[in-house]
Symmetry: C2
Subunit: 595 residues, 2 copies
């Protein structure tokens, strides 16, 4: 406890002199931080019967149904939040410093400047990455008197503004904070009401990057629909916009396709641990309504051993023991991509996935960690290569060309891991529009950018959420993917570090994402592993180098925001971990290195 | 999926030859592993109307009420468990290999060989550490026919046997495992029933160490009673027997003493985040009934800044800014232990704690990380030292002698951190019977043993559960307490490594414990951080060097047991993390390094 907790008249520590004045940081505790804003120092009370009116350039219009539902959710959340300002007196200081706090009903006017027909949030969410920042832009003002207004060019922009509003308001401080820290009686009468401490607010906001994502692996350990929906809710709360669903891998095949029921029947962990097409469509709709695109990834041809249970004829070196060196982790087994039969079968599989993901602009085909030893240990593969006179890379090129065909045919864009353009020579099959995920090391971004591709940052050295869980192969040594990546580590990343000065290359940096590989994570620990760290990813790729003064981000500035968003998550029932002792969360200015 | 998952007649991978036979490991998947056991290969079905009869050397007697409640809990758990054997067919292999599985009602006979009056579990739990192993010893037999029998010399021994029984049984395999992996129809008729796969069982068990614990810090972040009770339930499930409750520290003071209400009123994080005396007594009873002693630790004089909120007159350098170098972490402030007033006041505080912990044999007074700079920055301390002509260490010695007096007077034993005997010269105040916790490094055990003290291992390099969460002072660098301590790391620890060959010194190794400092943990992540790792601590200090062939423990042998106990925890609603992909949990023999 600092001396700010002491009731007035308490003797201060003899050595300290008078207690330090209460410090108010007039800063938005919003994650991601808006790229442009001004605030005042006056708290305004938000009436609980908040009314939200939708205008289109001054005219009332009907809303897209998903925007209507989003508004209702925001209204409910504002009514339900119990979140108080994080300071020793939980916000009472704002009412001390304000002689006559303004009690006003805040009506929220949503103003959309789009044309006659307003597209749904979901439609905006599934736009191409480059088009998203404009669609996500909004402005939000809360004046001292009169209605608060959110303006945007799209329903998605309004959603982002509503989300910011949710992070601006606090439940009024408790009546038992004691002494001169108590708000005056007229405020106490409004106890339980909401307020925003720093009116007037004028926020003008727009993301720096159109791809701000989270990868979830649902193959190594099962994560069910309800957990994923809750994850999407929280992603939307920090304005993340891509759910990269690494749905299958060598451990299990939960993807239950209607025309290929045998895959999940044999490859899922259990009959209840499958995702049906209806599940996936439902989840894509759920994500879209929350401003999130779904990138469904079926990782081919390397991470497919789980297909051996249903289609052993398509898998090379299935279950070969020991798995090492035929696979980076057990079990071994990869698609026989050098054969026509397997290539055509896999193409059909991708066609099904493309059909399933009708609304999404991108489809992921993976392509990482193709293991040569696994292939050469397979007589069928060796015979096929010999017959065609191909190298393994040539076979991979031909295979990739075939499986990308249905993606291009549907006017979608393939998304692959960096191996596809860095590890197998010249792959003619990788079309120039392909989006490439950096994963092995952050420095690889330069190599891929130099080849002219668009990239998404997902390097393990900054963004692997599973790092820090230790090795998992039953030995005392080994550290999995290395040290835990703290939120401050995330914020030290520079998205443009490897892009050089030229706009052309910088424009090909679409954004970045956190990755959660689930060797040691399932629903029991999912939220603890993801939150609030991934909010730092959201902050980094939303703010770009516009807010906070470039890279590395200013973590001293960000600490109170990260605490605030974490406690807000807990207030919503999300099991986000504390970043520091609660004492520190109440006094972030005293809780940084050197303080 | 391995080929053992394939339906019969499925074509195997061309390169692999015939599928490998189903391997059955006739091993107890029990954590901690009993120190002596034999098993057979015959599954016996356990009737759902399990009847437990309590005998005392053949005569029926009345049970201590806490044993009666424990038996009821075991019965309920056996009825409720849905846990299946972890293998690709979830245990169906046992029924394949047994031509005529034995369906028998297993009556459980508890036989206690103690005298006329049977002491309660709680009374045994609060025995001295050296006396516990005998009280915890039991034997358990499950023959092919006739009743299963648990024998022990005490109610606590019976509890340990019941706990082992809970880990021996599995719910029968699902009917949809398919193909030849299905159990025969007479077994299917018993579907939903429990079985133990390796009858006949003959287990004779007793712990190597009498102190097998878990430390929980409830000051840095709040952890409430319900979460602690659930933690105690799971501790009891792996036979841990000491709950080291680090109840207060510099961040908050949740200890609400009846005669000192001001401490928690000002020092707790909020009015609802306090432990009343009634809470603490209730929790001590709850623990005792589960075979767990409570070591309540009030960490003096170094970790007490939270007392400045109620008693600034007793705290040196309270809230001095920046906290560094006056404290290892914010906030600064320590008891003015060089003054008579503070010493006598603190002695009274310890008296209250001793009175509160009436049933416990030990009381913790901490004593780590006394910061000299913090003391010398305090004019009151400087004046007192000058007046008495003392060094700071002499003052600390006098203070410690005073605060240990009420502990000795109550015939209890003080427990301190290693600093008290290693960092302040000769401390005459530390009586030879004092128990010393090793924390800074495992090698420090030798130094403390050489001074003749009894020790409990709790070194950060093996047992700090908070390690691996990364630095938390808002900088990208720093790694908190270093790498994550995996369960395999825990098992590589040798309790006798620094004790030398002589029995006298080895007998002064009381055991060990995991420590959870809660800078970055609260109720949201508590179970994920603790479980199942802490089961490895339980295994290590229960088995000693008797089972598993010395140190380091055989993690290949332990892996299937660790998986099993983890899934059992999840079955009980505990958020224990997965140690590997689920695929590996079903095939541990293929999931170790080199496999």
């Amino acid at each position: 406890m600092t001396s700010t907790d002491l009731p007035p008249g308490s003797p201060g520590p003899a050595s300290q002199g008078p207690p330090p004045p209460v410090t108010i940081f007039p800063i938005l505790r919003v994650v991601p931080l808006p790229t442009s804003y001004t605030t005042g120092l006056t708290p305004v009370l938000i009436s609980p019967d908040l009314e939200i009116i939708f205008h289109q350039s001054g005219r009332k219009v009907s809303l897209p149904s998903d925007l209507a539902r989003s508004i209702k959710r925001t209204t409910n959340r504002l009514q339900q939040t119990q979140h108080q300002y994080l300071s020793p007196t939980r916000g009472a200081e704002f009412f001390l410093s304000s002689a006559s706090p303004i009690l006003t009903e805040v009506r929220l006017v949503l103003d959309i400047t789009a044309g006659e027909k307003v597209a749904s949030i979901a439609k905006c969410a599934h736009a191409e990455a480059e088009d998203r920042p404009l669609l996500e832009a909004y402005s939000l003002s809360i004046p001292l008197k009169g209605p608060a207004i959110i303006k945007a060019k799209s329903a998605l922009g309004l959603l982002r503004g509503l989300t910011t509003l949710e992070q601006l308001v606090y439940r009024s401080p408790p009546s038992d904070v004691g002494g001169s820290g108590s708000p005056p009686s007229e405020i106490m009468a409004a106890c339980g009401s909401l307020y925003a401490p720093f009116a007037p607010y004028n926020i003008s906001d727009r993301p720096a990057f159109g791809w701000r994502g989270l990868l979830l692996d649902t193959s190594r350990n099962w994560i069910g629909l309800e957990a994923i929906r809750k994850l999407l809710d929280t992603m939307s709360f920090v304005k993340l916009n891509v759910f990269h669903w690494h749905i299958t891998d060598s451990n299990s095949w939960p993807l239950d396709l209607e025309d290929r029921p045998e895959l999940a029947a044999a490859g899922a962990y259990s009959p209840s641990q499958k995702f049906t097409e209806s599940d996936i469509k439902g989840l894509t709709d759920y994500a879209g309504e929350r401003g999130i695109d779904v990138l469904l990834e079926v990782d081919l041809p390397g991470h497919t051993a789980s297909l051996a249970a249903s289609h052993p004829e398509h898998i090379a070196s299935a279950n070969i023991l020991p798995a090492d060196p035929y696979s980076n982790q057990p079990p071994a087994g990869q698609l026989r991509f050098a054969t026509d039969a397997t290539t055509q079968w896999t193409k059909g599989l991708v066609e099904d996935v493309v059909r399933l993901m009708e609304v999404a602009p991108y489809v992921g085909t993976g392509g990482d960690e193709v293991n040569e030893k696994c292939m050469f240990a397979d007589p069928v593969t060796r015979a096929s290569l010999k017959e065609k006179g191909w190298t393994l890379d040539q076979a991979l090129d031909a295979f990739t060309g075939e499986i990308h065909e249905p993606i291009h045919a549907a006017r979608k864009t393939p998304v692959v891991w960096q191996d596809m353009v860095l590890s197998h020579g010249a792959m003619r099959s990788i079309s120039p529009d392909t989006i490439v995920h950096i994963w092995q090391a952050s420095g690889d971004a330069k190599k891929v950018l130099d080849k002219g591709f668009r990239i998404v940052h997902a390097p393990g050295d900054y963004f692997y959420l599973d790092a820090g869980q230790g090795g998992w192969m039953a030995t005392p040594h080994g550290s999995g993917h290395g040290d835990y990546r703290t939120w401050a580590r995330v914020m030290s990343f520079d998205p443009y570090a490897h892009a050089g000065p030229h706009k052309e290359a910088r424009d090909r940096v679409l954004g970045g994402q956190a990755c959660l590989w689930t060797e040691q994570t399932d629903e029991n620990s999912l939220e603890c592993v993801v939150w609030p760290r991934t909010a730092a990813v959201a902050d980094l790729f939303w703010t770009g180098d516009k807010a906070g003064g470039g890279y590395p981000r200013n973590t001293v500035e960000a600490l109170p925001r990260m605490h605030d968003v974490r406690y807000r998550m807990v207030d919503r029932g999300v099991r986000a971990i504390p970043l520091q002792p609660h004492w520190c969360a109440l006094r972030p200015e005293q809780s940084i290195e050197g303080a």
